[in-house]
Amino acid sequence: MNERRRQDALVREYLRRLGWSLRELRPDEREPLMAEISDHIATARGLLAAPTDDDVRGLLERLGSPEEISAEVAKQEALRWAGPIRYRPTVAQPLEVHVDEIERVPGGEGPHDPAVAPSPPPASTGPTSTAAFVAAAAIGDPELRAVNLLLAGGLLLGVGWVVGAVLLWRSKVFTLVDKVVGTLVLPGGVLPAVYVLFRPVDAPGTSLAHVVELAACMLLPLLTSTYLHRRLRAVKLRSGFESFRARRAAHAAERERNEMGLG
């Protein structure tokens, strides 16, 4: 019984590290991947009659480390963004995004299990090196919070927007242009739209101007928010790639050291 619990703990720890290494993915991309790998582990364990701890460790080793999987995700993201390449037919095929994979197989350890929700790994198991780690850590929640608060935070008596602006200007990820755009288009986010919506229109002939004003107040914050989200995603993608390249360079350097007998 203790053995089973130890093995469950091994799997939970693996999934927790995997969740952490995939934290930059959107939830609708991360959760299906986590679910598939979680199911894979559950199925592989089910095939073992009386698994030992080493069997489970071997099974996780066959899967690859969370860092290897996240590096592969970055490579595939880059391929997807590069568009149809290599042996694609010349006639454009419709792209179809399937969002059918949110369901979970009951009984397995999965991302919805709070015990394996993404959380920081112990200091010794985090990403190994490079500025990519700094970049990856820096584009976590504060940036997303800033963008969301700039859009809708104004509805919280205006305070939320101010907090979003502070987060935006403190960010080391967004450029000066991003910060200026995020702050000035429009101050208050959607709050001005709410004000325009409920402002009484009494002068004749102002209804068209009112509609235009309302549309502008709605659209501009939405466009700004979309722009900032895209900027954030581009930086994430780049940092994922840098991380992959850094790991590959570190691996090559280590191999070279070993060959020279310095390892």
């Binding site: 299906p32 066959r62 595939q76 095929q93 419709p94 179809e96 399937h98 994979e101």
Partner: protein, 117 residues
């Protein structure tokens, strides 16, 4: 030691990695596969990927590009399993790849002296 002797292994690793999606499409062209069996077939020493877990991001991208679709079915009674199936777009990609593959294989065979007499 110059590191040159590791080149074949690196080359094979890169080539195997780059053809995973086409191997997956090839397997799926014969009919749907359960995710676990598909990944086990593609990974490991006899497969084209050294690690099972790294196949899943490839499959996810193929799904997003519309080359494959997935559906939940019961692999065994009471055990739901995700099945992968190739789409018409995936078949077209595979056909295109097969043509290129035959061509490049013949050219390389001629260069390195492995062409059959």
């Amino acid at each position: 030691m110059t590191g040159m002797e590791n080149r074949p292994a690196e080359l094979v690793g890169r080539m195997r990695h780059d053809v995973i999606e086409y191997c997956a499409l090839g397997l799926l062209s014969g009919g749907p596969w359960g995710a676990f069996d598909l990944v086990r077939a593609l990974a490991g020493e006899v497969g084209v990927s050294p690690r099972e877990g790294t196949v899943y991001p490839v499959l996810a991208r193929m799904r997003q590009e519309g080359l494959v679709t997935t559906a939940w079915r019961e692999a065994e009674p009471g055990r739901p399993c995700r099945f992968y199936e190739v789409t018409p777009a995936g078949r077209a990609v595979l056909e295109s790849f097969v043509g290129e593959w035959l061509s490049i294989r013949a050219r390389i065979d001629a260069f390195v002296g492995t062409a059959e007499a």
